[in-house]
Point group: C2
Chain length 358, copies 2
């Protein structure tokens, strides 16, 4: 069966302000020492499994130019620009009907554009197993990450350790759980039956659409209308009219939590969702004082800082656990334990109509 990929690249990446901006969010940047942007790495690492012309990128009109620039060999018609943001279920549904219209049916790797994977070969091996399971079972297959800490920023997947041992490493999913509190996360970690929900999925287009028809029938009806218009002069008009009618809902909450036919492949391939500036310290090498710096930085008695420099020389003196991000027009200095409050800066910029800095 043909293998396609749907890469989701519509996110705004506010947690990486000021480097990530509305006009250039995280997936179009490099946050490691690599020169490649995150979406470029996402594509490159699946190319041994998927042909470029079978890769689809869902984004929005603001980023179409960036996708074309960063992925010049992607056919322009494979860039799907959402008329509006409606979370992952409508996004994936649109991708699935686009693929069904074009190929009848196909395997569909459904991947975020802004995650880091440090062992791409291991990752592809897991994908191959997932494809085999999805092929054989018609199931929805998710990639679950063996948790290394009781992280409260991830959703968790509880799986049935007895269910299918040995079968391409796939296990039946018992349930999906939302981001837990710390005590619960610690229990999950000790329990051993829980994995981090990576947001990466493998399924046939027909399989996800069948589940969508069952669990989100209103969405499915709108999606079939969109599908019928593909290739006609009314395509964009129908898309805009129907897409906006779909309720915003995530694929996890809308489908995966309800479906009876979900497998998970527990895996470790150096995954990081690069969810905040704190992750930059996890995914990049640190100096002997625990500082992770990029740019021209002079550090005096400073420890565990994260520095993303711009053009100028940065001197850190006596600083601890501080995030410093310098860009051409904005500078962030943030205590590590306040990283969640960066959004308040964006709120202030919005309320002062300073959209040039968003």
């Amino acid at each position: 069966m043909k293998i396609t990929a749907l890469i989701m690249a519509g996110g705004r990446g506010e947690r990486f302000w000021p480097k990530s901006r509305k006009r250039t969010p995280k997936q179009f940047l490099s946050l490691t020492h690599s020169d490649e942007t995150m979406i470029q790495s996402t594509v490159r690492r699946i190319l041994p499994l998927v042909r470029m012309e079978d890769i689809f990128v869902v984004t929005n009109q603001d980023y179409e130019r960036l996708v074309r620039e960063q992925l010049p060999s992607l056919p322009p018609e494979n860039i799907l620009c959402e008329p509006t943001a409606r979370n992952t279920a409508p996004c994936i549904g649109w991708g699935a009907v686009t693929i069904r219209k074009k190929y009848g049916d196909a395997m569909m790797l459904t991947l975020p554009s802004d995650h880091l994977i440090q062992q791409p070969k291991l990752f592809r091996n897991v994908l191959k197993n997932a494809i085999q399971v999805a092929q054989d079972t018609d199931a929805l297959v998710t990639l679950g990450i063996s948790p290394s800490s009781p992280d409260t920023e991830y959703g968790y997947i509880q799986y049935d350790m007895e269910s299918s041992e040995g079968y391409h490493n796939a296990f039946k999913v018992k349930r999906f759980v939302e981001k837990p509190d710390l005590a619960t996360a610690k229990k999950y970690l000790a329990d051993g039956e829980y994995l981090w929900n990576s947001g990466m999925f493998v399924w046939k287009a027909s399989a996800i659409l069948r589940e969508m028809e069952a669990h989100l029938p209103d969405h499915y009806a709108l999606l079939t209308a969109i599908e019928q218009a593909i290739g006609t002069p009314e395509e964009r008009g129908v898309l805009e009219a129907k897409f906006i009618q779909m309720r915003a809902i995530s694929i996890d909450y809308g489908i995966l939590e309800h479906s009876k036919n979900v497998y998970v492949l527990p895996a470790s391939f150096g995954w990081d969702d690069v969810g905040s500036w704190l992750s930059v310290a996890r995914i990049n090498p640190a100096d002997e004082k625990g500082n992770v710096v990029r740019g021209d930085v002079i550090s005096v008695n400073s420890t565990r800082c994260i520095v993303q420099g711009g053009g100028k020389t940065i001197a850190l003196v006596g600083m601890e656990d501080t995030i410093l991000v310098d860009t051409e027009d904005a500078l962030l200095v943030c205590a590590k334990d306040s990283a969640g409050e960066i959004r308040k800066v964006l709120e202030e910029l919005r309320s002062n109509n300073r959209s040039e800095l968003l």
Copy 2:
């Protein structure tokens, strides 16, 4: 008697890096909300007492252009460029012989160029008293600041509270003491007989030169040689040959500590020596969270920070007691209690031959 002023403007201001640079030290900058630089304020506040043509500025060749630019109505011949830095005694001695050569004798206000005085009218009243005392007694008169805290960054002056009460508020000095430790400074403050040594002096040129002859005879001999050459074709050559032979020594240590004829005027006129970034928090108004900011700053849950912005927007999130200084080519982020270690950044720049940043 004619009143002249000698303004000392040769300092390098390393403690204000990166705003203060070797090519533009602190006295040529504004560190308050004023548009005036510190040397401009220094001159303006004495102009009601001294004519511009009777003001002399001792600096060095690197800063001659800055002095001309910032004090355009100062006669260029009143800018005295030291061939080399030799601390304050040679600097003041050269000023004194220059004034003696030109005027025979004159009153000589001897002032740093980089101090802040928030009540200039009170300051001038103190100067007038000091001039009267120096006129009547031929003494060396110093301005002593009533201490508001047990500061260990200042030298102290112990004075004889019984000595001359009522006489233009001047008192005989018992002794000068170097920067004390905290316990000693606390004793001084409790004692009430101690003042901060402001480094501002009033005396006749003849008086300081007589004391120099007594306590620094080698310096005095070299200074008279310099004086004789003033106005001759050999002037610069003699200056360069003799000045370099003078041992570096401060006026306090070389003369004031030994002289028997020293008065002090205790005073309070909103004085600050602006000795480090920490002083910026003392001399500028703070917001309700204790932050002293200059520039376009968005502050979220941040307290007691000092921010000197450059052109860009600065967001502070969850920061405390941090100094942030942004300039075109260098950025400093420094814990307040590490302000003394800024010099280590300069050492590193020097050892890496990065003189463009010094």
